[in-house]
Chain length 339, copies 4
């Protein structure tokens, strides 16, 4: 039994992790640290866990973590993880960080997009980017996993085969993302009220979103291609999931069969990628699952591929993938707790 | 042209008032006071009014009101109106208060349910309860109108004919209300987040809600009957409206025809009451309107009438009715701006 | 491994069953019969099962069922199960029927409410009512289980303790239910369109709903009390779940502690009942689970208990409870596949 | 008083027209033809009009139209208008067609995208494309107005200034549209059920949607530029409105001030276009209005403009614009009934 600690419990990623671990047969949550819910039972914070979880949140304590945990998930906001991770690593614990703090090799990029000094540059080079499908071998040996952002997970998985095989033209790729509201986090803010978001659509942080350099850097490393991405995220009125539409011009003409072969070759054995060639996924089919559904259609006269990709932002886009990574780090079945 | 002032503009009732007045032909908003949006243009606070309203919110100022307004709508939270109303009345302005501050003749009831001392008891006796259909003549001459609560508006209009004509048995009446989220107001609170309320139903303040004594007092005054009401409100995931189900046992057997005659007699000329005898209204048909739709079915073997009543909580349940009252106070067509 | 057959796959109950069985460790779906999807792969009918289920629907065939199934779930519409059940029983298979066809001992009641002749009266007396918590011992030995309706499941579990212990007064109990849209089934009907139901609330079949005699009969049998119920169901705009508010007058004054003791005594060991005494459940906490959450508040001066009960209509209200029953019939852990 | 006839009343466009005309001071609906609701009162078809409309639908009858109407709105499905329009024109009536039947000058394009023979080619050349802002003078004299599609209305208004002034680069423009469900019409179809669409996002008819040639042809005519558009529409779970995101690469570098001047110059006097330069609209602000809200941001290093455009699909995207056109055809104030 792997003993799991969670730091930060008031957000959706922690809530989702807790839920996944109630189904996990080879790991269990043994420790939770929380500032805002200190000394509160998790069942009171999340009545949905009534009868399923009997843990009380404590203050963050390295001595306690030393005694009770093998691995710690950091579910604190961006810019706060880098205060916790070095202490945990020094205490000999493995760390899976769900924030953006360790996703860039280059601290300058981080500092530009997250608008703070990086205070743990030393660990950036040790951090392993946790996009499971592209980085399994490194994840297996990792001590510090930087779990990917939700948008990068979908975008990279959708684009990777085309880019890696050199199909994509010079032109930049447009990525238009639609996210459910849980993607905006849980904060007492007028902009997140039901009455504001219901029956509404809005866009935010167009082009300059902090996930853009994450996508571009990762595609460069894994697909070996520098590629300009134009990314615009939108909020749509539903709870869970991201639906992403990608507009990709190709270098030379091809056909659907070819594209299908390309994606099948790279993703055939993937337990969490489902392909819909010559068709498109629907968001609802991935809600509350760890799947990434990818579909596409090729328009020959325009030499354009339109790709639709769908994930649950809190599962494959955050906590589900975090557990997938943990499973790999401990040599377990990758799908444990996730199907 | 009646010159209208609004005090408090950050809530839904003020927003709805502003919208109604853009359509009103014989009144216009000439002044707005706001603490939180002082010196802000209303178009910035509410982009939906872009191009339609060109007003800048100011601090509350009696001298300015004296110069610019004939009537002032108070859209501040409960317990705050009683600080503004006496000043406005003293300045010779008519006041329509959308809070609960002047709805009770008996200050002790107010103080019990709203948990504060009443600081303007002197004006309680002058305040006219603004349930238009039952109190037109007094409203016409009023200087201070206490606009009814949203739940009382629907409940009283639904029950009044049966009670007035002495049909209702001794047994208490159960009123189960379902409210859209705007009924809970606009506050930066975790309990009002989209992710909390979407795909959810909850109940709040069962039986002891402050609208219960308002309903009971009003029915006693207008229908001449003391009647115990069991009232439980629920939040359901939609923007606008209240759907209310009332369970009323009768004194003696009757039939649908009779009930229909009863309601038609009392409401036939009402421009904002629509009857669905032997059937029920649907909430969507009253959304964004000032109608109160009332339907019912009589079950003879149980001697029970089930009534369904639907209103838009911000129109007939608040700002729409407030304008309806203003129209009457100024001798205008009652439906002006409201159809 | 228990081999499971499902007859009828186009409805939500079959879809939910299929989902539950992908998580079940001691049973697997080996056979599906469908008229409308004959020879179609289930993955095509339900893309959400892609990669998880590899079954092709066939025509209903007793010889195939004989070879491939131990137990058969009937997911066909009301009035159709009674054509399948006798054949299956004769073939020696256990049957769990999710329709209303075998829920009444008295065929006349069925015929009145479902408006058809009952064509398999012989099996009515053998059918075991599948409200797990109240009928475990009989379910364990059953060959034919009549799985309860969704509303009766919540209503009976909420009322049973009070009724059984003789607390409830003579007065009828009002039950106001709010159901998500999946409760209305999947039919190509204008009344079920998104645009009709979104931002809407409506009520249907007040007082005379076919679930009323089911509730009353069951309470008489299990709690030993004849009790008149006034039941009105409403449709509210969300996918899953029933929230039910019950208004129960008591015979004599009591207190919250007492009520708590009463419910705890009867439900303490129940894995799927969660109690919220002096508080209320929220629907979202039971969505996609097999829990029935029950909360209540006692109002001493009115001698009234208001109960809130929440279930997922497709899990505890249909397919989840059906699997719970199957687990018991085969001596498995009752919670297998359901937590 | 202009006397208005409506042919086809079961769809959302007719329902919206009826609503607009209840507020219109210089026109009134005097005649409605409907096959599916023949001899039914409109109040029964649409209970929301109870008390506001007293019309009974009849069969389509030229003699009756001759006597009772000045102008006829065709609200029948695509491919059916061309059967009605020639008869109405011959009878001397003005026609505003809300279908796609008269939107193309070239019948071959129509026949390719709508998959039927065009049976009234003679009137194609007389039809005036009803995108009000770009075609007012011709609309004023028109006998047959082809009211634009919902997507073209938003797309053309968003792109027109940039294209007309020659700012747009060679590269094709990507248009990613998100539509509320009413855009899909009212049909008893499984694909339009609440349970299918709620909490879901899907895309449909990517790139080859019939509105693409309409957009391209119109931009060529009005902006004088041939421009390739890549258009993908999505369904998102809300009732009303289209939010459209356009990705436009420019020919040469510019700045926000310049873009603002460009749009203000062309749209300054437009009563229904509202600009949000260096910002973006939100869908909710245009719901139930005739506004087209357009916002944008310029990214200098990429020489890219991201435009967000929002309309209510049934108002500015259909019936609102149809009335706007009628107002112009009869020399009335263009905003009559629409503010």
């Amino acid at each position: 039994m792997v003993r799991v600690g969670i730091v930060g419990i008031s957000g959706f990623t922690a809530e989702t992790l807790l839920k996944v671990f109630t189904r996990h047969k080879r790991a269990e949550v043994t420790y939770c640290a929380s500032q805002s819910h200190k000394n509160q039972k998790l069942q009171e914070v999340y009545p949905a866990f009534k009868g399923a979880l009997d843990i009380t949140a404590g203050a963050f304590s390295i001595p306690r973590i030393k005694k009770t945990c093998d691995v710690v998930f950091l579910c604190v906001p961006h810019t706060q993880s880098m205060a916790f991770a070095p202490q945990l690593l020094k205490a000999g614990k493995k760390v899976i960080d769900l924030s953006g703090d360790y996703r860039f090799k280059n601290a300058a990029v981080y500092e530009k997009y997250y608008q703070v000094k990086h205070t743990d540059k030393g660990n950036l080079k040790n951090a392993i980017y946790g996009l499971t499908e592209l980085n399994r071998q490194n994840i297996a040996k990792a001590f510090l996993v930087a779990n990917p952002g939700c948008y990068p997970t979908a975008a990279i998985l959708a684009l990777y085969p085309l880019l890696k095989e050199g199909f994509v033209s010079e032109q930049s790729v447009v990525i238009d993302a639609k996210s459910g509201i849980s993607g905006a986090g849980r904060k007492a803010s007028l902009s997140l009220l039901y009455t504001r978001l219901n029956e509404n659509i809005s866009l935010y942080k167009p082009v300059l979103h902090q996930h853009v350099p994450e996508m571009e850097e990762c595609l460069k490393i894994f697909a070996g291609q520098k590629k300009e991405l134009i990314f615009v995220p939108h909020l749509v009125p539903l709870d869970r999931g991201i639906f992403m539409t990608l507009y990709v011009y190709l270098k030379k003409k091809t056909d659907s069969k070819h594209l299908e072969a390309l994606y099948r070759k790279l993703y055939f054995h993937e337990p969490f990628i489902r392909l819909f060639i010559d068709g498109f996924p629907e968001l609802k089919n991935v809600a509350y699952t760890n799947f990434c559904d990818i579909g596409m259609k090729y328009f020959k006269d325009k030499n354009l591929v339109v790709i639709g990709a769908a994930i649950d932002n809190l599962m494959k886009g955050a906590s589900g993938q975090a557990v997938q990574n943990m499973n790999i780090m401990y040599g377990m079945n990758e799908t444990e707790g996730l199907l």
